[in-house]
């Protein structure tokens, strides 16, 4: 009997010994860099150096040197996954869960090193990197339990005399996991764990920016007991993912990333290739344009720090991050002044320094993109942040920007920026704010600062988003507590870390048996 799920506790970083342990792990990791990442299919890792990941805070530092999967390797990986599928599907759910729980224990043991790796490879500040490790562990623990429950206690059916009806969930086959770099541990592992727990074989295509993290995940899964044919690692650029998505033997695609790529995957998956024998199912999570509404009765003491964290932690590189604030005009001046002042004191710096709020963004192209939006904000609106931030010259740093008085059709108000840029708009009332939210194509997360319970109910009713947070930051969803995923163009409506996520990875099968023989019920 497995103990009930509980979230893996994050490190108590307010205690200095815990911080010291992380810094020590970083020192040890640094001396092992660069990591060597193979294309890893079955028992045959193939080393290579076609791909490198570097420290976004110091692009000279190579974090991982990786092989990149060739088209032949994609074919080979899918073939092995197809071969391995029956045996893994036939493994009872509790045995599969056992492997995932052992992998969780391995990650727990290595948590400091893994957090350090996320700091180096993706410039995640410590607290965020540690939370990423914990969420990865949570996904393993949560889906392991969920898959057991799905197998051992599926929903009951109506039973009449003379027939026996059973509903069971069967694995769909091969799952391609196409993962982002911003949660380089939790998101790839969460998608992979859901597939594995339910008896599918999984091919992981990690983000090209984070192959090092992905290797650690696959290693833990295999050491935990997941067979080589059930989990493959295919590092590479976009074409590896594109080939997987279009492969006739890939039954399910689990994707987290940009809306452009997501829509392409959905379109590709909808076409059944010659010889294809199934409809490829896509589980997609595709970003957002997340708004925080601040009503006139909001407690600005809570709202200001909450908005700042939501918008600027990890340089705003979360799909859940806040990018628009819609504030009631009665408190707009106060909020804007305090928000600008609070952003001015943020520490822009290296991810490995405790206290850094805004680390460098992931790569040069991201820096250029953020700069374009910041310039557009300055040209067409008013930039509120006054301080000239001291940023290291090397590294992809972007100082935080808060802009207001933007034209209604400004790109800053409609496009996902994925960086430390926040737009503030005044609204005459909460309904006007809800109208603007309703106009958006995205509907991932939203926030509301308000102390009138009737207004809260009203905004809940009007809100299209997948996750609405009231009087708290809008990031930091926890497995089992805040199942996460968006609606509209933000995603396919799946909820990672929630009770129904695994259903996307299985096919229901109903068996009805006649139990009447010779007019007798036997």
């Amino acid at each position: 009997m497995i103990a009930p799920f509980r979230n893996e506790p994050v490190l108590e970083l307010r205690r200095s010994p815990q911080r010291d342990a992380l810094l020590e792990a970083l020192g040890a990791l640094d001396s092992d860099l660069p990591l060597r990442v193979p294309v890893w299919i079955g028992d045959e890792p193939r080393m290579g150096d076609e791909l490198t990941s570097t420290d976004p805070g110091d692009p000279e530092r190579v974090v991982a040197v990786s092989a990149a999967a060739t088209p032949a390797e994609v074919e080979h990986a899918v073939a092995r996954a197809v071969e391995g599928a029956p045996a893994w599907a036939a493994t009872p759910a509790d045995a599969r869960a056992g492997a995932l729980l052992r992998a969780a224990a391995i990650l727990r043991e290595r948590r400091h090193r893994l957090a350090a790796l996320a700091v180096r490879e993706c410039a995640k500040p410590w607290a965020e990197a540690d939370a990423d490790v914990c969420e990865a562990i949570d996904f393993l623990e949560y889906y392991a339990r969920g898959a057991i429950a799905l197998e051992q206690a599926p929903p009951g059916l109506l039973q009449l005399p003379g027939e026996r009806n059973t509903l069971a969930y069967r694995p769909r086959g091969v799952v391609a996991v196409i993962a982002p770099w911003n949660f380089p541990l939790a998101i790839p592992l969460g998608m992979a764990a859901a597939g594995l727990a339910t008896g599918n074989t999984v091919i992981l295509k990690p983000a090209e920016q984070a192959p090092g993290c992905a290797l650690e995940l696959v290693r833990a899964l295999r050491e935990g007991g997941v067979p080589g044919d059930a989990i493959a690692l295919l590092p590479g650029e976009g074409e590896v993912g594109a080939a997987l998505v279009r492969h006739r033997d890939v039954a399910t695609v689990a994707f987290t990333g940009s809306v452009a790529v997501g829509l392409d995957i959905l379109a590709a998956a909808a076409r059944v290739p010659a010889g294809g024998r199934h409809l490829t199912r896509v589980v997609a999570e595709m970003g957002g344009k997340n708004c925080v509404i601040v009503d006139a009765d909001a407690d600005l003491d809570d709202a200001v720090p909450g908005i700042v964290r939501s918008a600027f932690d990890f340089a705003g590189q979360k799909c859940s991050a806040a990018s628009r604030v819609l504030v009631h005009e009665a408190v707009a001046d106060a909020l804007i002044t305090r928000l600008a002042g609070a952003v001015d004191v943020l520490v822009v710096g290296q991810a490995d320094t405790f206290g850094t709020a805004v680390p460098p963004v992931i790569e040069h192209a991201a820096q250029e993109r953020v700069e374009r939006y910041a310039e557009l904000g300055a040209r067409t609106g008013r930039v509120l942040t006054a301080r000239a931030f001291d940023v290291p010259s090397a590294g992809w740093f972007c100082p935080p920007t808060v802009a207001c008085d933007l034209p209604g059709d400004s790109a800053l108000l409609h496009e996902e920026i994925f960086g430390p840029v926040l737009a503030v708009e005044r609204v005459p009332n909460v309904d006007a704010a809800c109208d603007r939210v309703a106009e958006l194509a995205f509907a991932l997360t939203g926030g509301l600062y308000c102390r009138n319970p009737r207004t809260v109910d009203h905004v809940v009713q009007r809100s299209p988003v997948g996750n609405l947070y009231v009087n708290r930051p809008i990031t930091g969803a926890m497995v089992g507590r805040q199942p996460f995923g968006g609606n509209r163009l933000s995603g396919t409506g799946s909820k990672a870390g929630g009770p129904d996520y695994l259903l996307h990875f299985v096919e229901p099968q109903v068996v009805t048996e006649n139990t009447v023989r010779h007019g007798l019920v036997v």
Binding site: E8, V10, F354, G355
Partner: protein, 450 residues
């Protein structure tokens, strides 16, 4: 004054000191308004939903823009209360019409303001003059605390520091002409300042980060140094308050580091706080005492011992993160620890001065008893109470010749609301000593060992 105290003698001393204090407590007499507030508080103590509704209302009062808005909030919160008592039903019906809402809003606003005035002595230090003088006349010193909104910007930190500096000036002017009160102005270690200001490091910097104590320390140090200099010039005492465990390391380290700087050896008189509900408070106190042992300063460091006011916050935060709570989860453990730390502190004089801040008769009687057994004079241990919450105890302490100081918050309603809600929660908590006392628990039980 170091010495082992005999447990039986302490228990006997506690019963004696407790009896003296109990005899000096006022019996039943209450102003009519105070009685009304107490009834409202009784109501709230008995019904958790009603309590939640009332506190959520009090919390939002300063943000309401009109009486109508106030009434809408109030009825919105009361909606959530099942089986409301009769007066609530009346309030809800008033919420149905515009005129009714105006009347309800006015009544509710007046009620909140009245409660606020019980705990907050004035909108500005200047407005508090009368209360502070009155206290001094009654033989009670004060420590003034400037309430404010959270500090999230550098400007706000600068403004708070400026308000503190100007409060020091104001207080110096208030206290200068007052008559001498030897019990309040001198102990065996020497003179103690009349002017006493409590400051919060979280208000002196927007950069307190639990995982980066250095950041907040560096930023707050600049402003705190300025205040220390001003306090020294005016001969005032500056007490650095402690808040939640998130900032405990930064605040404690900051104070010890700044006081170690050469320029502050000769003053001002300063103090910090130890929270007895923290599991690691004995180790922290040992560290502070070790620091005090090597530090030669004109005014011994004052250590204010409190139980701690952030218990709910600490427990909720720990639960949400899956951590062991830094606080004792059973109240009796905090009470026992408070007594143990009291003994340690009193034994550590004259290296430190001791302020015992509790409304618990047993905790206070224990400090009096241990002080007597160690041969301390009454002036050698100070008792501190919260304005509005410990008024009766304050009177009894002063009447029985103990040295007592009231912690007096100053600020407007907007700034004061968080403080007010905390005090009201404390006042209606079923575990609180005050609630037990009000419920008529016999003296023997109130003085029983925790």
């Amino acid at each position: 004054m170091v010495g082992v105290v005999d447990e039986a003698a302490v228990e006997a001393g506690i019963r004696q000191a407790g009896g003296e204090l109990a005899a000096a407590l006022p019996q039943g007499a209450r102003g009519p308004m105070r009685a009304l507030d107490d009834r409202a508080m009784d109501f709230a103590s008995q019904d958790a939903e009603l309590r939640a509704a009332l506190f959520r209302f009090v919390d939002v009062v300063p943000a309401c823009r009109s009486l109508d808005d106030l009434a809408r909030h109030l009825t919105g919160f009361l909606d959530d209360v099942e089986d409301p008592p009769q007066p609530i039903g009346i309030a809800m019906r008033m919420g149905d019409s515009r005129a009714g809402r105006a009347a309800l809003g006015a009544a509710a606003a007046a009620g909140v303001r009245r409660m606020a005035h019980r705990f907050i002595v004035g909108q500005t230090p200047r407005e508090a003059h009368g209360v502070l003088r009155g206290l001094w006349d009654d033989g009670v010193a004060a420590s003034v605390d400037l309430l404010g909104e959270a500090t999230v910007t550098a400007d706000e930190a600068d403004r708070y520091a400026a308000r503190c500096a100007s409060a020091l000036d104001d207080l110096a002017a208030v206290y200068a002409p007052l008559p001498e009160r030897p019990l309040l102005e001198r102990d065996s270690a020497g003179p103690t300042p009349r002017v006493n200001l409590s400051v919060k490091v979280s208000a002196l910097t927007p950069l307190l980060r639990p995982d980066a104590p250095e950041l907040g320390k560096r930023d707050a140090a600049v402003r705190l140094r300025g205040l220390l200099r001003r306090a020294r010039e005016l001969g005032a005492h500056l007490h650095i308050d402690i808040e939640s465990f998130d900032s405990r390391e930064a605040v404690t380290e900051l104070v010890l580091e700044l006081l170690g700087e050469e320029e502050f050896r000769d003053g001002p008189s300063t103090g910090l706080v130890v929270q007895a509900y923290l599991r690691d408070s004995p180790a922290l106190l040992e560290r502070i005492l070790a620091w005090a042992a090597t530090d030669r300063r004109r005014f011994p460091l004052t250590i204010r011992l409190v139980k701690g006011a952030y218990w709910d916050h600490e427990v909720v935060e720990a639960r949400q993160h899956g951590w062991e709570a830094p606080v004792f989860e059973v109240k009796a453990q905090s009470d026992r620890n408070f007594e143990a730390l009291t003994t340690t502190l009193l034994g550590a004089r004259p290296r430190v001065r001791v302020a015992i801040a509790s409304h618990n008769l047993r905790s206070v009687a224990n400090a009096i008893a241990v002080n007597r057994l160690l041969g301390g004079a009454p002036a050698d241990v100070e008792f501190q109470v919260l304005r509005g919450l410990g008024d009766d105890l304050q009177g009894a302490l002063a009447a029985s010749g103990q040295r007592v100081r009231a912690y007096c918050p100053v600020g407007d309603l907007v700034a004061g609301m968080a403080y007010l809600v905390r005090r009201l929660l404390e006042n209606t908590s079923n575990e609180s000593f005050l609630a037990e006392q009000a419920a008529g628990v016999p003296l023997d039980e109130l003085l029983a060992a925790p």
